[in-house]
């Protein structure tokens, strides 16, 4: 697919407070973008402007000509219509378009099968589980065959342990339906699970925009870097130790350091915590405390090590 969804100098104010300040983004079609930002950063406003629910005060959103249908927004709490059955919820957009009943029935049932809620078509939203509600809301959106789908905090009302399953499910939907998917979330883990593209939004301003792995390992600003995960600042006194020749400040991710056990090593392990997929080590090196994520499990507190820097970034 060709083309971009473009935000051009978009500004929006609510009650004299700026929610979006001069926003510029180009989202490549057919990709999945996560907009990451703390609450109150204007993420939902951005989606509402895209969904044509509100209009920007100035600037414009330009969709490529190939896109014929309006982007559909799935709200955080799904906003299922409580008085309608799941069937009628899914059928709502088609009914509003006055399609023939038979056609609606076929489309709704096919979509329900795809999202595996075909066994709950007669239930009411209050009788559904969190996951079923989300699938119902997605079905209601997807049955309209949109080219762009917008998700507002898709994990907020789900069990934590369903996260990766849901992320996989959403990704597969995005691929199957060839959707451009724009998700907003405040959780970096969710953002990275869902998307290849990332935008970081803080106080209505775009801090960073690009491919997820580029932003993660080569962020453009410290603020953006911190938002995606723990960052170690390397003091100048240690540049020599890490064989660095830089005049800028140097930072690295917690997983960008390697430990080499050495009885005469300069660094000492202070503590070790099991975090599931990795261990979190706190290491003391010349009065500096450094965080390190590693899958090495044979080390423990008090051991001496040497550190090797695999990857870093500097400003």
């Amino acid at each position: 697919m060709e083309g971009f969804i473009k935000f051009l100098n978009v500004c929006k104010q609510y009650h004299d407070a700026s929610v979006l300040k001069d926003l510029n983004i180009s989202v490549p079609l057919g990709e999945s973008l996560s907009v990451l930002g703390p609450s109150g950063s204007g993420k939902t406003t951005l989606l509402k402007i895209l969904a044509n629910i509100i209009t920007a005060d100035s600037g414009s959103v330009v969709l490529p000509h190939t896109i014929k249908s309006q982007p559909v927004l799935v709200f955080q709490d799904y906003q299922l219509f409580p008085y309608m059955t799941v069937y009628n919820n899914i059928a709502f957009g088609l009914q509003a378009r006055r399609l023939p009943k038979k056609e609606i029935k076929e489309k709704v049932e096919a979509m329900a099968v795809k999202l595996s809620i075909d066994n709950r078509l007669k239930a009411y939203p209050a009788q559904l589980s969190g996951g079923e509600k989300q699938r119902c809301a997605l079905a209601r959106a997807l049955v309209l065959k949109p080219e762009v789908i917008l998700l507002d905090e898709p994990f907020a009302n789900l069990d934590r342990n369903l996260k990766s399953e849901t992320a996989e499910f959403l990704r597969s939907i995005q691929q199957d339906f060839k959707l451009t998917m724009i998700t907003v979330t405040h959780d970096q883990e969710e953002a990275l699970m869902l998307s290849d593209w990332l935008a970081i939004l803080v106080n209505g301003e775009m801090l960073e925009f690009g491919r997820a792995e580029d932003i993660y390992f080569q962020p453009g600003s410290l603020e953006a870097a911190r938002f995606l995960g723990p960052v170690n600042e390397i003091p100048r006194s240690l540049y020599a130790y890490f064989l660095l020749e830089s005049t800028d400040s140097v930072y690295c991710r917690a997983e960008s350091l390697e430990m080499i056990p050495d009885e005469n090593g300069k660094a000492k392990i202070k503590s070790k915590h099991f975090k599931g997929r990795y261990f979190r080590y706190t290491i003391e090196l010349a009065d500096t405390s450094i965080q390190l994520f590693s899958q090495q499990k044979d080390l423990c507190g008090g051991d001496r090590v040497d550190l090797k820097l695999k990857e870093f970034f500097s400003f």
Binding site: I53, Q70, Q79, P82, Y124, A126
Partner: protein, 271 residues
Amino acid sequence: MKNGSLVFKSIRSLLTVSVLILVFILPVLLLLMLAFSSAWRFPGPGPVAFSLRAFRYVFFQSPGFFQSILSSTFYSICTVILSLTLCILPARALAWEDFPLKRVVEGLLLSPVLLPVMTFSMGIHILMLKWGLTGTAAGIVVVLTLFNYPYMLRSLISGYQQFPRTMTETASNLGAPWHYTLVRVELPQLIPAIAAGAPVVFLTAFSEYFLVFLIGGGAVPSLSGYLFPFISGSDYPVSSLIVIIFIILPLLLFTLLDSVVYAVYKKRSLS
């Protein structure tokens, strides 16, 4: 000390219950007694004789009873429907929007229940006379709506304040036009608010004597109009029977309404 306060509390409860019975139940019992009697004459205290004269008269002999009860029910229901129709969009705007002079507009629109009915009624009578609305059921529905819509407006405003606006946004994002969203998404969820406002509008319309008499001029039958001559003619048994009907009818109607709303809720697992 503890015992003393317990005794005091029991006496207080007993007193409250006796007052409630004396003031609110006893009159109804007296009405029942009168309804089943042929007549009541001073100094009583019992009726002259027990009889079903009032029942026979009202239900079988008198010409206008069923007509007037149907007419009253009909124009009261029309008043509820018209109030609802008129109030829904203004309530939506007053609940959701902030605009200059909003408090003034809201106060103005709610004022018809605050100001004395008499102040406006003559002016309205002249206008309705001019527009040919006097002596018609339509005129009665209009005048009853004018004086009673604020009850509906107030309930709908609070209904809309509790309604999640994002749901309307969702519906329009899914491509529904505004009137489609209003009827299929908003109205069903406003049922509790309507169920709070409608009985009040219905009841005040159903009870109204003066406005119906003023605008209807006797051409449109009404239950209160049917009752009036019996009161002024001191026919206690018939008057009592009609007062009892005035108690029973709304109770029946509200029980019906309650059970319908409850059933709708229960099916959808809403609380």
